[in-house]
Amino acid sequence: MVPVVQCMGLTKTYGGKLALNQIYLNLEPGKIIGLLGPNGSGKTTLIKIMNGLLKPTAGEILIGGHRPGIETKYRISYLPERTYLHPGLKVIEMVQYFQDFYPDFRTERAFDMLHRLQIPPNERLKNLSKGTKEKVQLILVMSRDADLYVLDEPIAGVDPASRDYILNTIVSNYNRNATVLISTHLIADVENILDEVVFIKYGNIILQAPAEQIRQREGKTVDRFFREVFAC
């Protein structure tokens, strides 16, 4: 089976500062994977390289056997850690935008989620709170039938009450043959939905293992184990 993501000696430096250090990583399809690490560990850099927003300094990354490009953009549904929607457009116009560019976008699913979260489709994005904009982005991203969902800090900006709904949205809306990669440092919130975890520290992958295996082997939650591994 071809891995969804293959990193081979992937390295990225910013002006001499090492952000990713010769990473070798394979992600298999059909799993929800947590990319876990503290701030500045290289999570977002890795995700941006997957999406073709950054070019690696050395090494190679393949998404479904392809280098990042038009082909892989059809297959990845990406939620960045920032607001990328045009503030002057209405929510409904952004739904049409995704519908226009992504053949795998499911409009009904998007409207259903907007309705459940009580987000008015005719509201302009600039009139929405930061948290609501993030919810709109997540809805747009999860309304695609992609092969790989890459979610960078999907719950960081929303209130705890909405987190369960968002995580439930992720679990119940993704294509079962697809992979979901969730980058976060709020591990306790996502732990229950993770099949596998990848720990990243100072640009190095220090652990890749099934979540259940960690709990059994270490006798503690992934969150507790993470705190020990990354203790300052």
């Binding site: 002006g15 999406n51 070019k55 038009i70 990328y84 457009l89 560019f101 992504y102």
Partner: protein, 268 residues
Amino acid sequence: MLGKLMKYEWKASWKLLLPMNLFIVVTSLFAYVTIQLSFFDSESALVIMTGTFVMMAYVLSLIVVFIVTMIFLVYRAYKSVYGDEGYLLHTLPVDKHHIIIAKVVMSAVWMLINIFLIYSSIVFIVSTQNEFMENILEGFSYYAELVNEYGDINGFDIFMTFVAAFVTLIAKILKFGACISLGQLSSNHKVLTSFGFYYGIHFVQKIFDMLHLVFLEVMLESGVNTAATPASLSVGSSWAFDLISNLIYCVAFYFATWYVMEKKLNLE
């Protein structure tokens, strides 16, 4: 995908640029009414002051709308390609060529609307001043006579002058795109580097312009080209130089932009 990109480019810009450009029409009408009602011949200081204010507002609107249109287009290009919105644009399954073409076409459309409205407005206002208009027409006929004395300037030259002007406009739009893109190669001072590239490229272009003038001067003085009259040499050489040089600039700026977007994209 190109059509869709252009559609959303229009959606993102018309709400500001259309009313702003229509503002030129409104201020032109006010200026026209002021002139037609002979505000400046009035004995009332208040009426004269109002007329002066309207005319000042009219002239300012032309300048401000032109500058704001330019700034908006450059700012929008920067923000939508290399700012936060770039995270969406660059993850769309579209060719980078389409992204560049969509932005250039929509920028050209807005610049042409803007330039057309400004020229039309000036002609409209000036036409109300019969004496002034007569002077201008006299000036044109004098120029035409002068040109005819030297030789032949035909419709083809005039048409090609417009073509060269259009290509120059596209080159200027692409120049902004290339400078913004090349600025992204800097890890710390992207905007400052963009300005640096802009002034550096501008300087090189000015040197080419000067070399062209020197070449023209030498040709005219030495009478090397006996088949061409001074006027046809001047006008013909002028559009030919503008057309060829700007076509070269277009290609260079286009590929500089594409190269950075395709090979060196770094949205940090």
